[in-house]
């Protein structure tokens, strides 16, 4: 490819705050991070390995124990390169919550991946560019969003898919996500911003890329639900959460995105807001990965004031009582096959949806179990991972088909693609159901 002049372009993807960026900065904290004490905590029980969905289906993948503590130990003893198998890890972070000995596995993997990409991967390789493109979805999305119909048409063409696979290594098996005809931010501006003002109850919404460009209905549902409870919603400027960048070892890109987010969100906190996310990978990233990998001013503060959208209402409002009085009309939502995303599981949020939906008259969510969907963000988009991704997902597909429901429910945009891809079901976000229950019971005409 002839775009090789791009690689070290500091004004590359994701930089909204180019002027603040110092070109020589190469994530020093993550690089210098001393993870050996963490490695020493490992007593080789292999619990992490038995939780790794990739190792379960791929005999070639040595698993989290090797990627984490063993690799870090080896590195200390010899001048050893990071093993290329680290790129097979999907960053689902299941190993993290498995380890009984508090070994910081995902932090080790993120750091190792960063080092591998920086030192061992050719910046001219197709793989590097493909990964960089996938990781920086955020910078491509505005283009698609500008001409959504054309973009949807073009990405749907078989020749585009063929090109994607042959030239870029993006699997042709998948439907690229459709762009909404109006982004959430466009809608927000047109609407005139917040409809409720309330200096005592304020939240700043971190919508992430997907809810903005692809599923604005999720973001609108969040606004509706929060305004219903009297919150003033702020929508600060933001960049990608960084999740796809961590997963691809693009720590430098992630760092830039994180810096923007931390400063914008810290400013919102100063204005009395708490940070709310509707995507579990976004909240995971802000709460856990930022403080693990970066230390911009305010990182810790932003992390500790970030909440999952539903969790926040549970703690600050009597959500249960509100839902107990609510019902969803008609047959739009009845029974769901619910999949808890790995990144929700890691935050202890996996039981929440089922608990709450049980309260709503006429709606039920059947948990399809604790298997991983297998797509893990950009992972399942790569030609070489597609098969593994579908093998991992098989258990979830089966459970979905056996569940008493014909619709799917989840909080993660990429899990939702995989669920739809594997079963053909329509997939909804929990917030959409809450919005239907709370708003439509209130004022039956408000649905658009």
């Amino acid at each position: 490819m002839s775009d090789a002049e791009q690689p070290t372009d500091d004004h590359g993807p994701g930089t909204e705050s180019d002027d603040e960026f110092e070109p020589i900065q190469v994530f020093p904290e993550a690089e210098d991070m001393d993870l050996r004490p963490g490695a020493d905590n490992c007593y080789k029980c292999s619990t992490c390995d038995t939780n790794c969905p990739v190792a379960e289906v791929d005999d070639e993948f040595p698993g989290p124990k090797f990627q984490g503590p063993e690799q870090w130990r080896l590195k200390r003893q010899e001048d050893q390169d990071i093993d290329d198998s680290v790129m097979k890890c999907s960053n689902c972070m299941r190993c993290d919550s498995a380890c009984p000995s508090e070994v910081p596995l995902s932090q080790m993997h993120n750091t190792a991946r960063g080092e591998y990409v920086e030192e061992n991967m050719s910046k001219l390789s197709r793989e590097y560019w493909r990964n960089r493109m996938l990781a920086n979805y955020r910078t491509l999305a505005p283009l698609g969003a500008m001409f959504p119909r054309t973009a949807n048409f073009v990405t749907g063409l078989s020749v585009t898919k063929w090109l994607g696979e042959k030239v870029m290594g993006i699997t042709s098996e998948r439907e690229l996500p459709e762009f909404a005809t109006e982004t959430f931010r466009e809608w927000w501006t047109k609407r005139g911003g917040a409809q409720v003002e309330n200096p005592d109850k304020r939240i700043a919404y971190f919508h992430g890329c997907y809810a903005n460009y692809n599923t604005p209905e999720v973001a609108k549902a969040l606004v509706g639900v929060y305004e219903h409870f009297g919150y003033e919603v702020m929508v600060p400027d933001q960049s990608c959460s960084g999740t796809p960048m961590f997963a691809n070892g693009m720590l430098e890109d992630a760092r830039r995105a994180a810096e923007t987010n931390v400063s914008e969100l810290a400013a919102a906190i100063d204005e009395g807001a708490d940070i709310i996310a509707s995507c579990s990978s976004c909240s995971m990233s802000i709460r856990q990965e930022y403080p693990e990998l970066f230390d911009f001013e305010g990182t810790e503060d932003v992390a500790s004031n970030t909440w999952d959208a539903v969790e926040y209402l549970r703690v600050h409002e009597d959500l249960e009582a509100a839902l107990a009085d609510a019902a969803v009309d008609g047959d739009r939502f009845e029974d769901f096959a619910y999949h808890a995303p790995c990144h929700a599981r890691n935050q202890g949020l996996d039981g929440q949806t089922v608990e709450l939906l049980e309260l709503i008259d006429g709606v039920d969510a059947h948990d399809v179990g604790d298997s991983c969907s297998g797509i893990s963000g950009t992972y399942g988009w790569k030609e070489e991972n597609y098969e593994t991704s579908m093998k991992i997902g098989e258990e979830m597909f089966e459970h979905m088909e056996h569940a008493d429901a014909e619709q799917g429910l989840t909080e993660c945009p990429t899990c939702s693609m995989q669920m739809g891809h594997g079963t053909g079901y329509e997939i909804t976000h929990t917030l959409e159901v809450l919005a239907a229950a709370l708003l439509e019971s209130d004022a039956p005409s408000s649905a658009d």
Partner: protein, 467 residues
Amino acid sequence: MAIEDDVLVIGGGIAGSMAALSAAEHADRVRLVTYKQSTLRSASGLIDVLGYTPDGTGPLADPFDALEELPDSHPYQRVGTDAVREALDLFDDIAGDAYAGGHTETNALVPTHGGTVKPTARYPAATAAGLASDDRDTLLVGFETLPDFDAPLAAAHLEAAGVPFDTRGVTVSFPGIERDDAKVTRYAHLLERNESISMGGSTTGAREALVSIVDAHLEDESRVGFPAILGDEHADEVRASLADALGVDVFEVPMGPPSLPGMRLEDLLYDALGDAGVRVTSGVPVIDYETANSATSETASDAVAADGGSDRETPDDGDGERIDRVIVDRNGTMIPHHAEQYVLATGGLIGKGVRSERADESETDATGVVFEPIFDCHVPHATDRYDWFVEDAFGEQPFARFGLETDQELRPLQADGTLEFVNLRAAGAVLGGYDFAAEKSGAGVSLATGYVAGKQAGTQVGEEAGK
């Protein structure tokens, strides 16, 4: 506001699951909050009640006889023998066909992967055909890529231990696995899904391939034992289909960590929690608490670091303080959880429910502290760290008994014998006064104390609401 429940159980191992299940029989809203995965995933999946007495006598044929003789400080003595029986009854209800052993009070003798014979009270159905008291001749099959189970050696050990049958071991290669360090879940997955693998130029299902390999070694044995990797969610089906094809009984030999039988037991307990309507929050730790009269407390570990962990402010009255809420750390955000009653089932030194550290930064300082990190409950221990161990690795290790002291209702006690909190109970490995590894009593103590703590907590909610 906080997340509201009647009973909140902290810790999701055997003790916590059992506590939540027994609490749910008496209270409506029961929640279990657990952090990392429990030691169940490393444990064998066997339910040991008591295999040896604290002075090493054993293996015991009847654990119940010996329970009566245990020292007063032992958790079994706190709850009483009847409670141990009731807890096992509840476990039998929950486990249904998945476990055997409930027909008798005596211990069963189960061959282990090392070729020893272990006395245990309940064992997975997958292990049932392998009991050492059964006199049928046995073939043990190990795999080259799974060095933890050396079948010929295990067979030799079993014969040396005097089992009443002939036993032979062979080592074969597992169809479809190349790596030496393949995950046990990978073996299970291959068999469970009967994935196609290529063998000798043609492709065949993993089960058929395994059967053909093993069949070639089978002589006149009427049962075959494999390491415990025969499937995960549909282990029964895998075992039955292998048995069918081989024309003999098939059983699993419990393995060391990581252990599929332990994982299956975990699944069984979590399914039961779901059926009982217990809300489960996992992946996040409880890190702190607030009492009714303290708006915020210092985190227990801060307090420990600052004052050596010895004392906390004394309770307002003789009855002890009341916990109002605990704080769950969700990846950085602090979420309050309120309940009427709490059960602490956070495990021992391995599960991290009890922790130890140097009292002093300096390398030469011998003093250390042992503490319970959430509530800073009193943990008796010697100040000198060198008194925590004895030289003899197989000797009686004081640290193995580290844990909380409680009253008869399993409420933790302070150093002076008064209650730590009126609405807190403790269960499982977080308790002191027993050495599960030496006695072979791990799962049994967790079941019995979990059962009692949960029942007390659940009925207490009912009573207080009734007042």
